[in-house]
């Protein structure tokens, strides 16, 4: 299977370990990723917060470029980019006048025949989960996980087309397939504060603190997620939260693809651990997964 791939700025910067582990896992599962040529930033929250048309145009340029590959599916691992691209796709399909305006702005056609999917939506397809199960060499036995989806993979469902938007299961299914002791909790789709982190770090500390405490309450030893913004917000605030005694302890935050690569015993995944601000190695060693 070949799919067009939009990594987005985070995966080339602060979330390199997400990009690398996505590539490792897809290769092992025979999913060929074709990175779209000369992609631009999706505009993230700053574009849609300040200039509606710009936000659709920035995202649409990437959709048009993706259509130039011969692939019928475009996959986006970053939840924020996914939602921006999906929202632009939705708006263009829904509104012919806007579609004309946008294609003239980007000077490229866009037919709207592309299926835009978050990477976890592809990985959680039954046939792929089956493939994952066959490839597990190091079951993540005894590793207590909670899966955290945040906002932008699932909401708003009118745009994302996600059915179980209050209780998504994509990553939970994958964690079960690799043998983790996956826990359920009711904070799967709560907000981590997203793009407020830089200007209002107090808000980020409060919301990520709630999530970390709830993960602890569910007796999880780590959080599994699929969004670079959630990853940064949950990881970078732990030192300060611990110093202020607002969380009981630090816990590693994993991209779901990192744990899949680990379970499939893809050696290179170990190179990603030093990239983490909360070192996952002591936990992994204690579970015989180091």
């Amino acid at each position: 299977m070949k799919v067009a791939y939009y990594p987005g700025c985070s995966l080339h910067g602060t979330a390199q370990e997400y990009d690398e582990s996505t590539r490792m896992v897809c290769k092992a599962l025979d999913i060929e990723l074709e990175e779209i040529d000369d992609w631009n930033c999706c505009g993230a929250s700053s574009a849609h917060s300040t200039n509606d048309k710009l936000s659709v145009a920035l995202a649409a340029r990437n959709l048009a470029l993706a259509e130039k590959t011969a692939c019928s599916t475009l996959t986006v691992p970053c939840s924020a980019c996914f939602q921006r691209l999906k929202a632009a796709d939705f708006r263009i399909r829904e509104n012919a006048e806007l579609a004309r305006e946008i294609t003239s702005l980007i000077e490229m056609p866009y037919s709207g025949n592309l299926e835009v999917l978050q990477i976890i939506q592809i990985l959680a397809r039954p046939e792929i989960v089956e493939r994952v199960r066959e490839k597990v060499k190091k079951p993540l036995k005894d590793l207590r996980t909670v899966c955290y989806y945040g906002c932008l993979t699932v909401r708003p469902p009118k745009v994302t087309k996600v059915g179980d938007y209050e209780d998504p299961m994509y990553m939970d299914v994958l964690m079960q397939a690799v043998g983790a002791d996956n826990r359920f909790w009711s904070y799967k789709t709560e907000c981590c504060s997203g793009g407020l982190a830089m200007a209002r770090s107090d808000v980020t500390k409060r919301l990520s603190g709630i999530l970390l405490n709830m993960a602890d309450e569910a007796d999880a030893e780590c959080v599994v997620l699929s969004c670079p913004m959630c990853h940064a917000n949950l990881e970078t605030r732990q030192s300060a939260l611990l110093a202020e005694r607002r969380i009981p302890k630090k816990i590693p935050i994993f991209y779901v693809t990192e744990l899949l690569a680990l379970a499939m015993d893809i050696r290179d995944v170990a190179k990603l651990w030093p990239k983490h601000l909360v070192d996952p190695r002591p936990l992994l060693v204690s579970k015989g997964l180091g």
Binding site: G13, T14, C41, S46, R155, A199, T236
Partner: protein, 182 residues
């Protein structure tokens, strides 16, 4: 919650029409059930709840909504939009109000949020992609908050997560044009 007298002359009947046209959503169908506000993770930081903002748009309290903190602390989590029984896209209304506040020079509250968005977009306008170092630098110059989160920045930098060199795209001109024409 702030309370104050409203006189009829303050009410701007054009506001709801303008917001509905720009956000493509029917703000006037709100029946004040408060579902949007009870699920809002940022309501504790807001001067008006999301439902109050919707009500104020319907009433025509233009300056009050455009100058509110609510529109800037909204994290665009889309919980309100997802749960509204009348299918009102409240998150998009928040976007529309932010844009209107900026374009009319009425954006007053939470200046650092505005500065963050400006810094972020200026990096995209230059390179076509975000260059974190430039974005952080621009933001720090605008806010003069040089030391805030410097330790986190350093930890990221040490791990190679913040690059010194930007990643310019070939289509920089095309992207710049999108900024100019929108």
């Amino acid at each position: 919650m702030p309370t104050k007298e409203i006189t009829e002359s303050q009410l701007d009947s054009q506001l709801v029409k303008e917001v509905e046209a720009k956000s493509h959503t029917k703000v006037s169908s709100c029946f004040q059930c408060l579902k949007c506000s009870s699920g809002c993770p940022l309501s504790y930081e807001m001067d008006y709840l999301p439902a109050q903002v919707i009500r104020m748009v319907n009433l025509g309290l233009r300056d009050e909504v455009l100058k509110s903190r609510t529109i800037w602390v909204c994290a665009s989590c889309e919980t309100c939009t997802t749960r509204c029984p009348n299918d009102i896209d409240i998150a998009h209304v928040m976007d529309t109000l932010r844009e209107m506040a900026l374009r009319s020079g009425k954006a007053e509250a939470e200046q650092d949020m505005r500065r963050f968005h400006e810094a972020f977009l200026s990096a995209i306008k230059t390179w076509g992609r975000v260059h974190e170092l430039q974005m952080i630098g621009t933001y720090k110059l605008k806010t003069r908050k040089f030391m805030e989160d410097a330790d986190i920045g350093m930890e990221m930098f040490k791990r190679g997560k913040i690059k010194l060199i930007p990643e310019p795209i070939k289509g920089r001109k095309a992207v710049k044009k999108l900024f100019r024409k929108t």
